[in-house]
């Protein structure tokens, strides 16, 4: 850090430790978003399932040639910890309607940095369902956009129809690196403003990097999307009991609470929370390993419906290794 940056520090409002933000996507938009939030002291929950490729490097500036082939989550976390001492939680996965809440998690604000049209609506709806703010961004060649809502309408659905013509995504359309960087930093600025209590939302910012034009387009008040925003009914709360030998894979917890309606979903939610742990329980084809026993409310799931065993609210899922050693 240069002396000039240290002087600037005095004017950067610190949110260290106070706020947790989910950043969906660790690519061209997610990189600058994560940098700006980490620098402001926000705890990050990064969600992504991609690996670093050579073609990413011109616009994904957290990564270097040494990161090629690594999961983006790992490479981003290492860079953010090294540069800013950031608190970073990594969640491996791609957002869809079935895993939305599990992947986004319990955060104060969610940012869609995937530049994927479907993910924008999922993040938008999560914010409406939880009453929490979201920021959504997009970039295509020299054009960019930033939108935010504060947990209520006007929302992203007030602007765009989900079943519209196919929108070219960032990866497909080609993106100029600094354009993604600029949009990403503006997204982070909106997020920090929202976390600091700013409630001036309900407008879309459009950016044209070639014509050097930025526009603020205000939406009319009102939004009737909130009542239908939740993609499914709330799921059962499941308590997963972790044996001592597996706790190192789940941040030393003895119980992990997840939401699911069956055993398979509970294990997926566990994996989303603590990436890597499922491979200790299930083999490559997804079946429970022979030396692992799983009990749903004290019943061995092999004598029930195995991974499809339904779970009721408050159910206890106990994981018991049959033999010790040799599997981690």
């Amino acid at each position: 850090m240069t002396a000039a940056m240290q002087r600037e520090d005095r004017s950067v409002e610190s949110l260290r430790g106070a706020r947790r933000v989910a950043v969906i996507g660790a690519g061209g938009l997610g990189n600058p978003v994560a940098v700006a939030l980490a620098e402001a002291g926000v705890a990050l929950r990064l969600v992504d399932d991609d690996r670093v490729e050579l073609s990413n490097l011109p616009r994904q500036v957290l990564f270097t040639t040494a990161d090629l082939g690594r999961p983006k989550l790992e490479a981003a976390r290492d860079a953010l910890v090294q540069r800013f001492g950031a608190e970073v939680e990594c969640v491996t996965g791609r957002l869809d309607a079935t895993n939305r809440d599990a992947l986004i998690g319990e955060v104060d604000l969610a940012i869609d940095a995937t530049d994927d049209p479907a993910a924008r609506f999922l993040v938008n709806d999560w914010g409406l369902a939880k009453g929490r703010p979201v920021v959504i961004g997009g970039v295509h060649r020299f054009l960019g956009m930033v939108f935010a809502h504060a947990g209520h309408g006007p929302c992203f659905r007030c602007l765009f129809e989900e079943e519209g013509p196919e929108v070219e995504t960032c990866a497909a359309g080609g993106v100029l690196g600094p354009m993604a960087g600029w949009v990403g930093h503006l997204m982070a600025e909106r997020a920090l403003a929202l976390l600091n209590g700013d409630r001036d939302t309900g407008y879309l910012t459009t950016l044209d990097g070639l014509r050097r034009r930025a526009r603020k387009v205000r939406l009319p008040d009102g939004c009737d999307h909130a009542p239908v925003s939740s993609p499914r009914k709330p799921m059962a709360a499941i308590h997963i009991k972790i044996p001592a030998s597996l706790r190192k894979f789940v941040a030393n917890l003895d119980t992990v609470d997840v939401e699911s309606e069956d055993v398979r979903g509970a294990l997926d939610a566990l994996e989303a929370r603590h990436p890597g742990v499922k491979s200790k329980l299930c083999d490559d084809s997804g079946n429970v390993r022979r030396f692992i026993n799983i009990y749903a409310n004290s019943e061995d799931i092999r004598f029930l419906d195995n991974l499809e065993t339904r779970l009721v609210d408050g159910a206890e899922l106990q994981i018991v290794p049959a033999i010790a050693g040799g599997w981690y």
Partner: protein, 96 residues
């Protein structure tokens, strides 16, 4: 990419600007000494083809001194790339 850019300043805007110019492949960068010291290693890892040089007669100046945020820095890098690619003769930014 042929061409060179001189990044003015040593703050966050300058750091972000230089980072995006290097990643985009601007071949030669002129940086002020403190920023060069802090950033040269990372820029080499980011894009081994970029050279940080003491000076370049053909370098365009990038970044107004008033710029302080990383957003300003990325936008200045964008403006510089537009100029270096000869895409247009950019006028001032308009916010409406």
């Amino acid at each position: 990419m042929a061409g060179a850019a001189r990044v003015i300043g040593c703050g966050r805007a300058a750091e972000e600007c230089a980072t995006y110019l290097a990643a985009a492949g601007v071949g030669r960068l002129v940086l002020e000494a403190p920023l060069r010291e802090a950033l040269e290693g990372r820029l080499a890892e980011l894009n081994p083809d970029v050279r940080v040089v003491d000076g370049a007669l053909d370098a365009i100046d990038v970044l107004p001194e008033s710029a302080t945020s990383r957003a300003d820095g990325a936008r200045a890098a964008l403006d510089a790339l537009v100029v270096l690619c000869g895409a247009t003769s950019p006028g001032p930014w308009r916010w409406t």
